[in-house]
Each structure stands twice: as C-alpha cells, then as structure tokens.
C-alpha cells in the first residue's frame, strides 16, 4: 500500500519534469517505429534527441533567453497522446471566414485529412503530411530535412527535430506559380488536458516558382499548451515566397517556433509575423541569404496585454554580395505584458554591396509593461549600407487631442491611432482572408 502510494507520488514528481517526460516519450515512440528506425530521418531524430539531452532547456542565463524564461514550462506535465475530439463542430467556433485555397488542419500537431482541403493541382503543388512524406518521398526529406534549422545547438529545434513525425512537407516544382494560398491551421485543443505538440514543416520552392503560405496557430481550452514548431523553407533561385505566421493562443500557452529560411540567388522572401495573443511566445525567424541579389522582408506585429510575453528573434545572414534585407517590427504593449525584439544582422566578409535595414517601433501604454529591444549588427565588410533603429514611446498626445477636438471619444481615438500605427505592417498581408481575419482580431484586441 505504502509502497504503491510512494511510487505514484514519485512518478508524479518525475512527470513534472518536462525533459524527463520527453526522453521517456522519445523512447516509447521509437519502440513503436518498427523498421523506420534505420531511415535517415530517424537517424537525424536520434542525433537531435542526443543534442537535446545534452543541451537541456535554456535558462535565463543563456544570452538568447535572457528575457524569456521557460522555467515554468519545464515544470509542467503534458499529454503527448494527442487524442482529441476536435471535429467539425469545434472548428465552426474557430472558423476563419472566407478561407479559400489549400487549407490543412493539424489538431494537436496531427494532420487531420477530414477537415483539410487541397485544391491546387498536383502539378503545381505537392503537399504531404510529414509521416506520409517519410514513406513516399524519402529523397526529398533526405535532401532537405534538418539541413537548415540548427538542431545542433538550439535546444527547442533539437527537440522538435527529435519529435519530427507530423507537420507538412510542401514541394512547389520549378517554374510553378501556386495561385491558391496554402493555409496551415495548427489548432491545440487543450480543453481537457495539458497538450504538447511539435509540428515540423518543410517547404521547398523550386526555381522560378511562387507560393503564399500562412501558418495560423490557435489554442482552445483552459489547460496548458506547449507548441514547439520548426518550419524550414528553401527558396530556390528566382523563387518568390510569401510567408505569414499568425498566432492567437491562450494565456496558458507556450509557443516556441523557428522559421528557418534559405534563399538562393535572385529569390524573394516576405515574412509577416502577427501575434494577437499568447501567454508565452518566442518566434525565431532566421534567414540565410545564400545567393546574390536576394531580397528578404520581415514584418512583425504584436499586441501583448495582461501578463503575456512576446519575444521575436530575427536573424538575417548576408552570406553573399548584393542582397537586400529590410525589417520592420511593431508592437503595442499594455498592462503587465513584456516584449522582446532581438534583431541580428550578419554581413559576411564576402558580402559586399549588402543593404540591410532594420527598425523596431513600440508603443508602451502602461508603466508596468516592458519592451526590451536589442539590435545586433555584425558586419565584416566595409562596402555595405546598414541601418537600424528602435523606438519605444507612448501614443502621440497631440494627435489624440486633435482627434478628440473633432468629436472622437478618447478611447476610440486611441484605438484609431493604434490601428494606424499597425497599418503599414497589416497592409503587407497579401492573403485576403488572413488579412481580414487579422484586421478583425486586431481591432478587437486594441479596443480591449
């Protein structure tokens, strides 16, 4: 009796260490893999797991995690079984109006073919969920999977790589212009239990090809949610990719995500990251400009309130000459929220004629909210144009008075000004349904 009781107690204590839960889960999963363990993908998973075990979760002593503390996350117990009752009825409550295109649903990280709809012809677009791709297109995975995201040194990327079982693998063949956008909806159903999910995505966009992709994250329910996501995007020569990341999670959710982009010469990449809600959000956007005449644009918007924490880390690596990058992140912080912007620009010694611009602007509406901004420029070439700037301030009092003197009530004038502040980022979103969805959410959030 006593022994059993002690055992239960012990296992409960153990279960509250997330790292140990993950190690145990990795082993259990591996045991069920049956033959796949010899595959190249699984060898990578195993190596990544070893890295994770060595690295452990980062603490605030780690320079890149100084302002983003995951100590509460790593003490929680999560369910990895991903069981969910989520279906059409639940979806109806979370629907995005006028959603058109290739819409794929991942519930608790697992692809749901019933809810999903792929409309583009296969000649334009090959979409497989990760598990299927491992079996049906191993060459693609062997060529690209885990070749870009750093699972050697980044604990969360290592962890995601170790657990890379689902997510999406997208291949746009050379010369194809995918007319319909791809919208990936990652829904965490935390209504009955703490849920962990680790989607892993790979997007390969061939020479001269074009595609628009949105990742929309949403959490429902009152329990904890831990989403650790990695998306690798390869933009081949002269290809054009628009990438949108949209987050509307809950106060108890943790989202850690890395988008790793590799651009080949003459390619164009646009990213817009919008965080509406999320208890703890860490977005890493890393772009390597591995070719000449590339253009990379990074936009971000975040609206933390309450005790929310939003951390955007961006990295542009100008590895080759003659490329251009431009970055604009904007945030509005309320209540006791915290924000982090860390923008790194690397210009390698060979990367002459680089143009790199970065700007981060914030409106902090409460004395108890904090924004930490850190631009980091590491430039090893003299023949470059680089600039960066960060501002943190309040709403413009003159403008407020002007608007009020015309009859617009204070609260509404503030909302209008805040919305106007966001406008130049919102206008970068080129998928209509996503833009309208966000406009609604932003207006709602700003009026709170």
């Amino acid at each position: 009796m006593v022994d059993n009781f002690t055992k239960t107690l012990m296992s409960n204590t153990l279960n509250n260490d997330l790292k140990e839960q993950l190690v145990a889960n990795f082993q259990a999963t591996e045991g069920r893999l049956n033959g796949e363990t010899k595959s190249a993908v699984h060898q990578t998973r195993r190596a990544a797991m070893q890295n994770f075990e060595t690295l452990g979760f980062p603490t605030i002593k780690h320079e890149e995690w100084k302002y983003s503390n995951v100590s509460n996350l790593v003490k929680q117990a999560f369910d990895f079984s991903v069981k969910t009752e989520f279906g059409e009825n639940e979806l109806a409550t979370l629907s995005i109006p006028n959603l058109e295109g290739n819409v794929l649903y991942f519930i608790n990280g697992i692809y749901n073919p019933e809810l999903s709809n792929i409309v583009s012809p296969e000649s334009q677009l090959q979409i497989l969920n990760f598990g299927k791709a491992v079996k049906e297109n191993p060459t693609l995975l062997e060529t690209y999977f885990a070749q870009y995201a750093n699972y050697q040194n980044e604990a969360f990327t290592a962890l995601n790589t170790a657990f890379a079982h689902d997510g999406v693998v997208i291949n746009v063949p050379a010369g194809k212009v995918v007319e319909q956008p791809i919208i990936l909806r990652f829904i965490t159903d935390a209504r009955s239990i703490n849920v962990a999910s680790q989607p892993r995505n790979l997007v390969v966009v061939g020479k001269n090809a074009e595609v628009k992709i949105a990742e929309a994250f949403r959490t429902m329910g009152e329990n904890g949610a831990f989403t650790n996501t990695v998306t690798e995007i390869v933009v081949e020569e002269n290809a054009n990719v628009q990438y949108y990341k949209v987050q509307n999670d809950t106060e108890k959710s943790y989202h850690i995500g890395t988008t790793q982009v590799c651009q080949k010469q003459n390619s164009h990449f646009y990213a817009v990251t919008v965080t509406i809600n999320g208890g703890f959000v860490r977005n890493n956007l890393n772009i390597v400009l591995d070719g000449q005449n590339c253009e990379a644009f990074m936009y971000g918007l975040y609206f933390p309130n309450g005790k929310q924490h939003v951390d955007n880390h961006t990295l542009v690596d100008h590895a080759q000459p003659n490329s251009y990058s431009n970055e604009l992140y904007k945030g509005i912080l309320k209540d006791k929220s915290t924000g982090v912007f860390n923008g790194k620009i690397f210009v390698r010694d060979g990367a002459s004629k680089t143009n790199a611009y970065q700007s981060c602007r914030n409106v902090v509406l409460s004395d108890e909210a904090t924004m930490n901004t850190k631009p980091q420029l590491e430039i090893y070439n003299d023949d470059v144009k680089c600039s960066h700037g960060t501002t943190t301030g309040k709403l413009n009092d003159e403008a407020l008075f002007y608007m009020r003197s015309r009859g617009i009530p204070k609260a509404e004038a503030q909302t209008l000004l805040m919305y106007a502040f966001c406008e130049d980022v919102i206008s970068q979103i080129k998928i209509d349904s996503i833009k309208e969805y966000l406009e609604g959410l932003i207006a709602e959030k700003l009026a709170q």
């Binding site: 008075f401 002007y402 009020r404 015309r406 009859g407 204070k410 106007a420």
Partner: protein
C-alpha cells in the same frame, strides 16, 4: 452664445491667461489680434479643452452650459471647433476615415442617425468643392506630407463638414498665398449664419478684408487690452502694436 469671465490659465505653473473677459453672440465674428506669445493660441486651446493647460480661475459658459467641465469630444459635440494653428499629421488615418468617424460620433451624441458611406461621400464632395480641396488629398493620411496651405484648407474643410456653432480659427491665414486666403475666407463666409459665430485669431489685417469682423480685440500678455470695431484692425496694421504696449505700460 459664449461668455468668458475672468478666465485664467497656466501651463507648467506659468500663468499665461490672466483674466480674459469676452462675450460672443450668435451671428457675430470676433477677431483676436496681438503680438506673438500673447496667449491667443492658449485661449483657443483652453476653449477646445486641451488638457495640458490648467484653468486656474474664471468660467466659460457656452449656451448655458459650463464649457470647462466638458471633455474635448463633448465640446465638439456641442458645436465648438478649433482650426489648429499647427494641424497635426496622423500617419495611417485617412482624412476621410477620420472625418467619417468624427461626424458620426457627433451625430450619435446628438441622437442623430449615422451617415452611411454614400451619404457621407455626397456630403464630402459638396464640402470639398466649397474649399477647393482635392479628393486625392482626402484619401491620404491626415495632413501627412501636406503643404502648409493644404493643411489649413483641410482645417476649413473639416469645419465645413462638422458645421460647428462656434468656429475658432487660429492663424488659419498664416502661410497662405492670396488665392488660398480667399478660398479659406470664402469657405468661412459660406458657413456664416445668424445661428453661429466665428473667432478669428490672426496677426494680419488682410484676412479681415475677406472675413469682416464685428469686433476686434487685442490680446496682450494674457489680457484683452483693447476692443473696438473692425477699424481697429486697420489701425493696428498701420501703427503696429507698440502704441498698445505703451498704453498698457502707462496704466500699470
């Protein structure tokens, strides 16, 4: 309509208005003149409700209501309009959107139905013609990158849209060439009626050739030191302010 009694105001503990008395009746046009730094803009701002100015004494009655108790938006709703000396640039908010919001808020506070998009556009076209302001300007962000003259015309356009009872024009003429000046003045004159009143704050007599005032007041060091008929403006133009300053000095 407006009764200002012994109005005193300060900013950062510095007294700027030191006892203003002024009575304005419906249908009248009052010009307020005076050297730079006299407190003309301060008076205009206090009437519009700018919070950085602290009212330290006196009262302002507008149609039987205590104006000083009202928020800026409430003042707009009862019919006060200030054309700013320095209109503010607001990136990201178009003039159209801004004015539609403003107009419908004012209508709402008066218990009127909001205008729909078509009604609003019709009204806007009509008023834009009145002040000769281009459609394309109105689609842009409010005052952003506007020339000085465009900003001033935009102020008068907004006034035309909102149809205030009491319009306060703070140096709307400064920086305008003679054509623009005439357009602005015509805009104001078209809005004059027995029911509303205008306060024209200006440095120069020339605007008053077009907007003919019933009274001219000289504001100096936070007080109205002289009032008279429209001819006073001509006299000031001719002789400058030194004789007024001397008169004030003599009485002190």
């Amino acid at each position: 309509m407006l009764t200002i009694t012994d109005l005193q105001a300060s900013v950062d503990d510095k007294a700027i208005l030191k006892g203003i008395n002024l009575e304005i009746k419906a249908g009248e046009v009052h010009a307020i003149m005076g050297p730079n730094g006299s407190g003309k803009s301060t008076l205009a701002s206090v009437l519009a409700g700018r919070e950085e100015y602290e009212v330290t004494g006196g009262s302002v009655d507008f149609d039987g209501e205590d104006l000083l108790e009202m928020s800026p938006e409430e003042r707009a709703a009862v019919g006060i309009f200030l054309a700013f000396q320095y209109p503010v640039e607001i990136p990201g908010v178009t003039t159209i959107n801004f004015l539609k919001t403003a107009l419908n808020e004012i209508r709402k506070s008066r218990g009127e139905e909001p205008l729909d998009a078509a009604q609003f556009l019709k009204l806007m076209r009509e008023k834009a013609k009145l002040v000769n302001i281009d459609d394309s300007l109105l689609k842009r962000s409010l005052n952003e990158g506007f020339s000085g003259g465009e900003k001033k015309r935009n102020e008068i356009f907004q006034m035309a849209m909102l149809e205030p009872k009491l319009a306060i024009l703070d140096e709307t003429d400064s920086g305008l060439d003679i054509d623009a000046l005439r357009i602005v003045a015509e805009g104001v004159n078209k809005l004059r009626s027995p029911e509303n009143a205008v306060i024209v704050v200006t440095h120069y007599q020339r605007l008053l050739d077009y907007i003919v005032p019933d009274y001219v007041h000289v504001l100096y060091k936070g007080r109205i030191v002289k009032s008279g008929p429209k001819e006073l403006a001509l006299e000031l133009e001719e002789k400058g302010y030194d004789w007024i300053k001397a008169e004030v000095a003599a009485t002190m």
